[in-house]
C-alpha cells in the first residue's frame, strides 16, 4: 500500500520554488484574488512530499489530503489538452484517475472510463443514478448510486458485485477503497466491505447519516457525520479506538496527515486532532457569514492538506491554516464552491475553482503565499466547476457536459 502517505519523504519546496516565491511575496499582479499576505506568525512552509501520483477518490489518496507527489503536477502554465463530452441533464462529480484512466459518471445513467493521454473512451456502461464521486483501488472501481454500491473491473467495466440498500446522495460521502476494503457511509452506519466480494466485513452504526467522506491511514479509518463525533475505528473490525465530540454535524471530508486528523464542523470550526488519541491540538473558527443583520457559521465543505498547510474551502472562500497550530496563513475570496468543488495541492501549488466573469475559472495559487500564479477562464466547451483532480501530470475538471484535462 503506497496510497496512504504514511512514510513521506520531506522535501523543502521553498528552496526549489526560488524566485517565484520571492515575486509572490512582493505582491501579486493583475488578479482578482484578495489574498492576505503571509503574516509573521504563520510558520515556515515545509510540506510533506506525498507518495501518490494518482487521484483515487474524491479527495485523492485514502487520507483525503487532496495532495499529490510533485511528479504528478504539471509544470508551467496550464493549457487544455483535451475535452471529452459527457452529456448529462443532471451534473457531474469529481473525476478520479488511476493507471492512466479517468473515471467519471454523469449522475444520471452512465459510467465512463477515459484514456488519460488521448481523451478517448476506454469503456462506458449504463448505471442508474450514480451520485457521489467514485473511488478506485487495485483495479476495482466503486460507485455509489442512490440505492446501491457497485464494484466494477476498472480495466473493462465488467461488474464485480453490487450491494443493495447501500446508497448515497449527491451531497453525500464518497466511497474509499483502501487495501482490500471498501468503506461506504450509507444509512446510519459506516460499512466496511470486502473489495473482492462486497460482503460486509463490519458495520459501525451511529444512528445518524454521514455526508463526510472517511479517511483511511494505516490500520485506522477516521469517520465523522451528523452524529457530531469524529471517530477512529480499527480497519480490521471497526472497533472504536477513540471518539471526539464536537458541537455540530460534520459534512466536510475527514483528512489525515502527519498524525493529525482534520475536520470542519457545521458550526464553522476547523479542528486539528491528535490521530493517536483524538485530543484536540487546535481549533480555528471561520469568520461567520453576515447577511441581513444575521450571522451564520461559514461551513467548511472540503479540507485538504500538504502536511504544512490546511486548506479549507467554504462556499465562497478558501482559508489556509498552519497544520502545526491552526494559525491562519492566507485566504482567497474568489473560491467558487459547489456540490463537487474541491482542492488539489502539489509541488507548492494549490488548484481551485474560482469565480470569473465568464462563468468560472481554474486558479493556480502559490501555496506558501496564496498569490495567484495562473488564472484560466472557462470556455464554451468546458467549465472548471467540478473538481479538480490532479494526477499523473494532468489536471482534470468536469462541467458543462464535458471532462477536461489540462497540463
Amino acid at each position: 500500500m503506497t496510497d496512504t502517505g504514511q512514510r513521506p519523504t520531506r522535501r523543502r519546496l521553498l528552496a526549489s520554488l526560488g524566485s517565484a516565491a520571492a515575486v509572490g511575496a512582493a505582491g501579486c499582479l493583475g488578479t482578482r484574488s484578495e489574498h492576505n499576505p503571509t503574516s509573521g506568525e504563520c510558520p515556515e512552509y515545509d510540506p510533506v512530499e506525498p507518495a501518490t501520483a494518482d487521484w483515487r477518490g474524491v479527495m485523492g489518496p485514502t487520507t483525503n489530503t487532496g495532495a499529490v507527489a510533485s511528479e504528478a503536477v504539471p509544470e508551467g502554465d496550464l493549457a487544455v489538452d483535451w475535452t471529452v463530452p459527457v452529456e448529462t441533464y443532471v451534473g457531474h462529480h469529481v473525476p478520479v484517475v488511476a493507471d492512466g484512466t479517468v473515471y467519471v459518471h454523469d449522475m444520471d445513467d452512465e459510467l465512463s472510463a477515459v484514456d488519460a493521454d488521448t481523451g478517448e473512451r476506454t469503456w462506458t456502461r449504463p448505471l442508474t443514478d450514480p451520485e457521489p464521486a467514485p473511488a478506485v483501488g487495485d483495479g476495482t472501481l466503486v460507485v455509489v448510486t442512490r440505492e446501491e454500491t457497485h464494484a466494477f473491473d476498472a480495466a473493462t467495466g465488467d461488474r464485480r458485485w453490487k450491494r443493495e440498500g447501500l446508497g448515497g446522495g449527491i451531497f453525500g460521502a464518497s466511497p474509499i477503497v483502501a487495501g482490500d476494503t471498501v468503506y461506504v457511509q450509507a444509512g446510519v452506519a459506516t460499512h466496511a466491505l470486502s473489495r473482492s466480494t462486497g460482503e460486509t466485513r463490519w458495520r459501525a452504526a451511529t444512528g445518524f447519516p454521514s455526508d463526510s467522506t472517511p479517511a483511511v491511514a494505516g490500520d485506522t479509518v477516521y469517520t465523522a457525520g451528523d452524529d457530531t463525533y469524529v471517530r477512529a475505528l480499527a480497519t480490521a473490525d471497526g472497533t472504536e479506538r477513540w471518539r471526539a465530540k464536537t458541537s455540530a454535524r460534520i459534512a466536510c471530508n475527514v483528512s489525515v496527515v502527519e498524525g493529525t486528523v482534520l475536520v470542519g464542523t457545521g458550526a464553522g470550526s476547523v479542528l486539528g486532532l491528535d490521530a493517536e488519541t483524538g485530543a484536540e491540538r487546535w481549533r480555528y473558527r471561520l469568520e461567520p457569514q453576515r447577511a441581513g443583520g444575521e450571522s451564520r457559521p461559514r461551513r467548511p465543505e472540503t479540507i485538504a492538506t500538504d502536511g504544512s498547510r490546511v486548506y479549507v474551502a467554504t462556499d465562497d472562500r478558501l482559508v489556509t491554516l498552519a497544520l502545526a497550530d491552526g494559525t491562519r496563513c492566507w485566504d482567497n475570496r474568489n473560491y467558487a464552491g459547489s456540490y463537487a468543488s474541491g482542492i488539489a495541492v502539489g509541488a507548492g501549488k494549490v488548484f481551485v475553482p474560482t469565480h470569473d466573469d465568464s462563468g468560472g475559472a481554474i486558479t493556480v495559487l502559490d501555496a506558501p503565499t496564496g498569490n495567484t500564479r495562473q488564472e484560466l477562464a472557462a470556455g464554451k466547451r468546458q467549465r472548471f466547476d467540478i473538481g479538480p483532480s490532479v494526477a499523473e501530470g494532468g489536471v482534470y475538471f468536469a462541467g458543462r457536459g464535458a471532462v477536461v484535462r489540462l497540463s
Binding site: V188, A205, G207, P209, D226, T228, A248
Partner: protein, 429 residues
C-alpha cells in the same frame, strides 16, 4: 424594562390577590410527593419531571390493548403520554394540525389499569391541547388543558369538577402539591389551585410582548417545579433570532432568572427536568444542563438530531431520546452510552422504523424504551423490543412521528403503559 407590577397595571390584568411580584415572601405550597409505586400521576411522574420512579416492571409482555377506534368518541388525535392513578390509565387525544379542533372532538379516556376495560370517555368539542395530570388523592381529579384556554378538571367518575378560563392554548399541566402549573400557548405561566382557583399568572417576558404582543401562538413545554420554584420554557414563533426562552420563577410567580438557549438543531422546547443541582432542558436536538438557581449554562450536548424528547434523570445520568437513546453524565454531559436507533435518515426511505423520541422512564436501574427496557448502567437491552412489527402493520403517517414519539411509555412497579400511535393504549406486564 418595566417591572412586573407596572406592566400588570398597564395591561389591566386583574389577578387574584395580586400575589405575583408584590413583595413579601411567596407562599410555599404544600408539596409532599409520596413517590407512588402504583401510579404515574403526571406526565413527568413527579413535579420535577425526573421520570424516575421507585420501581418498574422487571419484564413483561402485552397484557391488554385498547384500540383507538373502539371508544366513543374514538381515541383520535395525537395521543399524549398516559398518566396512571387510582387504578386507572388516563389518556387524551390532542388536537393538532392533522386533527383540527374545529371538526374534531378530543377524547379523555379512563381505562381500568387491571382489566383494560374502558371506564369512561369524555369528549371535548373545543379540543384538548395537552396530556392529563392527576392532582389530589383518593381519588384525585384529572386536569386537562383545552385548545381554547380552558383548564378542565374531571372527577374519577368522568364528571366535571370545575373549569378555569386561562386563555391561550394550554399545554400539559404538572401538579405541585395542591396546585397545578400550566403554560399557555401565548407564553404565560399559570398557577391554579386544585379547586380551580387561579392563584397567579406570570406574563410573558419582555416588555414589548407584554404591552403590545398579541396572543400569538408559541411552542411551550410542560412546566416543572421543585421547592425553589417553577420552571417553564417557550419559543416565540415570531422571533427567529431568539431561540428558546427558559424561565425560573418562585412559587409566587416572581421571576428568578431568564435564559435564552439557541438550540441546535431545531428550536422547539421539548422538555424540562429539575434536580437538586441542575435544570435539564432539551431544545431542538440539544440537551442543556442549567444551574437551577441562576439559569447559567453548565454544559450542552448536541445530538445532531433535530428533535430530542423530554429528559429523564436518575442519580447519575440524564436519559434522552433524540433519534438514538442517550445516557449522559449529569456532571459534564459526556455520553455514557447510547442505544442506536436504526431508523433511516428520512422517513420516506423506510417507514417501518422510527426515531426514539419519547420520555424514557427510569426505575430499578432500568430505562424503559418502546416495549421493553435497557440497563441504565450500559444501555444493553434487558427485554422487549422496538415494536417494529407493530409499525409494519400500522396504517399511519410516518412523517409526524419523526417529530413526535410513536409510542410513549410510563411505568408502575408492575407494568408499563403505552400510548401508541397505531395501537392505542397498551399494557405490558
Amino acid at each position: 424594562m418595566l417591572s412586573r407590577r407596572e406592566v400588570l397595571a398597564a395591561g389591566g390584568v386583574a389577578l387574584a390577590g395580586g400575589v405575583a411580584g408584590c413583595g413579601g415572601s411567596p407562599p410555599s405550597p404544600d408539596a409532599t410527593f409520596d413517590a407512588p409505586t402504583t401510579a404515574w400521576p403526571t406526565t413527568g411522574y413527579d413535579p420535577q419531571a425526573t421520570g424516575h420512579a421507585p420501581a418498574g416492571p422487571p419484564e413483561g409482555t402485552v397484557s391488554w390493548s385498547v384500540s383507538r377506534g373502539s371508544l366513543d368518541p374514538p381515541l383520535y388525535g395525537a395521543l399524549a403520554p398516559p398518566v396512571v392513578a387510582d387504578g386507572a390509565v388516563y389518556v387524551t387525544g390532542v388536537a393538532t394540525h392533522y386533527y383540527r379542533p374545529d371538526d374534531f372532538t378530543s377524547p379523555l379516556a379512563a381505562i381500568d389499569a387491571a382489566s383494560g376495560s374502558v371506564r369512561w370517555v369524555e369528549g371535548f368539542p373545543d379540543g384538548l391541547s395537552g396530556g392529563p395530570a392527576v392532582v389530589g388523592d383518593d381519588p384525585g381529579i384529572v386536569v386537562v388543558g383545552g385548545y381554547d384556554g380552558t383548564l378542565h378538571a374531571v372527577g374519577s367518575d368522568g364528571s366535571s369538577e370545575w373549569a378555569a378560563d386561562l386563555g391561550g392554548r394550554l399545554g400539559t399541566p404538572t401538579a405541585y402539591g395542591n396546585r397545578l402549573y400550566v403554560e399557555s400557548g401565548n407564553g404565560r405561566l399559570h398557577a391554579v389551585g386544585s379547586d380551580g382557583n387561579r392563584l397567579w399568572t406570570a406574563d410573558r417576558p419582555g416588555a414589548l410582548e407584554l404591552l403590545v404582543g398579541p396572543d400569538e401562538p408559541v411552542e411551550t413545554t410542560m412546566p416543572v417545579a421543585d421547592d425553589r420554584g417553577v420552571y417553564a420554557a417557550f419559543t416565540p414563533f415570531e422571533r427567529e433570532r431568539e431561540a428558546v426562552v427558559v424561565l425560573g420563577y418562585d412559587h409566587g410567580g416572581g421571576r428568578r432568572w431568564r435564559t435564552v438557549l439557541d438550540g441546535r438543531y431545531g428550536r422547539s422546547p421539548n422538555g424540562l427536568a429539575v434536580t437538586d443541582d441542575a435544570l435539564y432542558a432539551t431544545v431542538g436536538g440539544t440537551v442543556y444542563a442549567l444551574d437551577a438557581d441562576t439559569g447559567k449554562e453548565r454544559w450542552r450536548f448536541v445530538t445532531g438530531s433535530e428533535a430530542a424528547g423530554p429528559p429523564t434523570v436518575d442519580g447519575e445520568r440524564v436519559y434522552v431520546g433524540a433519534k438514538n437513546l442517550y445516557a449522559l453524565s449529569r456532571t459534564d454531559g459526556g455520553e455514557r452510552w447510547r442505544v442506536v436507533n436504526e431508523a433511516p435518515p428520512s422517513h420516506d426511505r423506510d417507514p417501518t422504523t422510527l426515531p426514539y423520541l419519547a420520555r424514557p422512564p427510569v426505575a430499578d436501574g432500568r430505562v424503559y424504551l418502546r416495549t421493553g427496557a435497557v440497563d441504565a448502567a450500559d444501555g444493553t437491552r434487558l427485554w422487549g423490543g422496538d415494536a417494529d412489527e407493530w409499525l409494519q402493520s400500522g396504517n399511519y403517517f410516518a412523517e409526524p412521528y419523526y417529530r413526535r414519539p410513536m409510542a410513549s411509555p410510563v411505568i408502575t412497579e408492575e407494568a408499563m403503559y403505552l400510548t401508541h400511535a397505531h395501537h392505542g393504549v397498551v399494557k405490558v406486564a
